[in-house]
Subunit: 214 residues, 2 copies
DNA sequence: GATAAATTCAAACGATCGTTTGAATTTTGT
DNA sequence: ACAAAATTCAAACGATCGTTTGAATTTATC
C-alpha cells in the first residue's frame, strides 16, 4: 500500500496525537483539525479510525526493516562490536521514532489488542530476538561470551531501559539538572548516556571473564 | 480519605479495566456494570471519572509506602545485600500490583497528564531514586562499589526491565516454551528469573572489581 | 472541452460518552 | 418509632463520539 502526501500528513498527525493522548483519547476530529483536512477524509482514505492506526503501523513497520540483518555475516567486526552496534541501533530507532514507539508500548500494555497490530508487534519482536540470539551464539562459539545467557531477559533489559528512559526523560532532565539544555542537545546527551550505560552493562554481563554464577 | 467496601470495589474494578483498556478506553458504564453498582454511584462517591482515577492513585500510593526506608540504617547487611533486597522489593511491588503499575506507566507515557497523578508519580520516583542513591553511596564509602555510577540510568534499567518484562510476559512465555505452565507457577518463575538476571546485572556493574572504563 | 473519476465539504446520523435528576429505598441516630 | 441522612435506581441531560450522506468542486482521461 502506498500513501499520497495527504494520507501521510494524516498518519503523521495521528501518530503524534496517539502518542500524546492515547488511541481512545484522540478523536478523529482532533486529527482532522490538526492535519487541516475534513473529518470525513479519514473514513474516506482509511475506512475507519481503527484502520488508520493499522495503516500507521504498516507505514512505520515497513520503513524500519533494519539494515542490521547483514550484521551477523560481517566478518570484520568482533562479536562485542556487533553487540554494541545492535545497542546503538536500538537506541537510534526508538529515540528517532519516539511517538511511534510510544504507541507501540501503549498497545503492548493493552490486553484487548487489535489483531493486525498484535501480529506486527509480535513479528518485530521475533526478528529482534532472533538477531540477538545469533549474535550471542556467535560470541559463544568464538569463546568470548559466557554460556547460559538469558537471551529474552537481556533483550527485555535493552528495550525496557530505552523505552523507560524515553518515557521518563523529563524526570531524567530534572534529576541531572539539564533543564537549561536545548532540546536537541539534550536528546544527543541522552542517547550518548544510554549508549555508554547499556554497552557497559552488556559487556560485563555477556563476557565470561570475571562472571560469578550464583 | 477512607473508603467503604463499595468504594473499594469500584476502585478495584476501575483499576483492572483501566489497565486492560486504558483510562479513555474505559467507560463509567463498563466500571459500574462489572462492579455491580448503578452508573450514578461513581459520580456520587467520587465526583467524576477523573476523580476516580485520582482516588485510585491515592489509594494505591499510600498503601505502598515501602518498609524499605529503614534499609539504609540496617547495619547487619552488606551494601550488596541491600541492593539485592531493593531489586527484589521492586520486582515484588511491580509484579504484585501489575494493573496499577500498568496504569502508572500509561500515565507516564501521556504528555497531557492529570496534575494530581503527575505529582504522585513524581514523588514516588523521587523517593525511589533517593533511596537508591543512599544505598550506592554507602557502598562507595565502604569501598566495595565503584565510583561514577549513573544512578538515574541504573534506576531506569531496574524499573524499565521489570515494567517491560511484565508488559511482554505473554511473549516471554511463548519464547521460552512455558505455555503449559500454570499462571501462578509462571509468575513465580518470572519473578525468580528477573531477580537473578537483575542481581547479576547490578553486581557486575556496581562493584569496582574488574570494571573497565571506556 | 466533455465525461468520468477522485476529492472536498457542511451537515446530519445514531450511538455512546460522563454526569445529573428526583423519586424511592435503606440505613442511621435518637 | 420517627425524622434525618445516606444510598440506590431508572431515566434523561447535553456533549461528543465515529461514520455516512449527497451535493459541490477539483482533477484526470481521452
Amino acid at each position: 500500500m502506498e500513501y499520497n502526501s495527504k494520507q501521510i500528513q494524516i498518519i503523521e498527525v495521528a501518530e503524534r496525537l496517539f502518542a500524546q493522548k492515547g488511541f481512545a483519547g484522540t478523536s478523529v476530529r482532533d486529527i482532522a483539525q490538526e492535519a487541516d483536512v475534513n473529518v470525513s477524509m479519514i473514513s474516506y482514505y482509511f475506512g475507519s479510525k481503527e484502520k488508520l492506526i493499522e495503516a500507521l503501523f504498516q507505514f512505520r513497520m515497513t520503513e524500519s526493516r533494519s539494515r542490521l540483518e547483514t550484521l551477523v555475516t560481517n566478518d570484520e567486526l568482533s562479536p562485542m562490536q556487533k553487540i554494541n552496534m545492535l545497542i546503538d541501533n536500538v537506541i537510534d530507532r526508538l529515540m528517532g521514532n519516539q511517538s511511534f514507539h510510544n504507541i507501540m508500548l501503549r498497545e503492548t500494555l493493552s490486553s484487548d489488542r487489535n489483531e493486525t497490530i498484535s501480529k506486527h508487534i509480535m513479528g518485530l519482536k521475533m526478528r529482534n530476538i532472533e538477531l540477538m540470539q545469533r549474535l550471542i551464539q556467535e560470541g559463544q562459539a568464538a569463546g568470548v561470551f559466557r554460556e547460559g545467557i538469558d537471551m529474552s531477559l537481556m533483550s527485555t533489559t535493552l528495550y525496557g531501559t530505552v523505552n523507560y528512559a524515553i518515557a521518563t526523560q523529563d524526570f531524567y532532565k530534572k534529576i541531572n539538572n539539564l533543564e537549561s539544555m536545548g532540546e536537541e542537545e539534550f536528546q544527543i546527551h541522552l542517547k550518548r548516556s544510554l549508549s555508554q550505560h547499556l554497552k557497559s552493562l552488556f559487556k560485563s554481563t555477556v563476557t565470561n571473564e570475571h562472571h560469578i554464577q550464583n
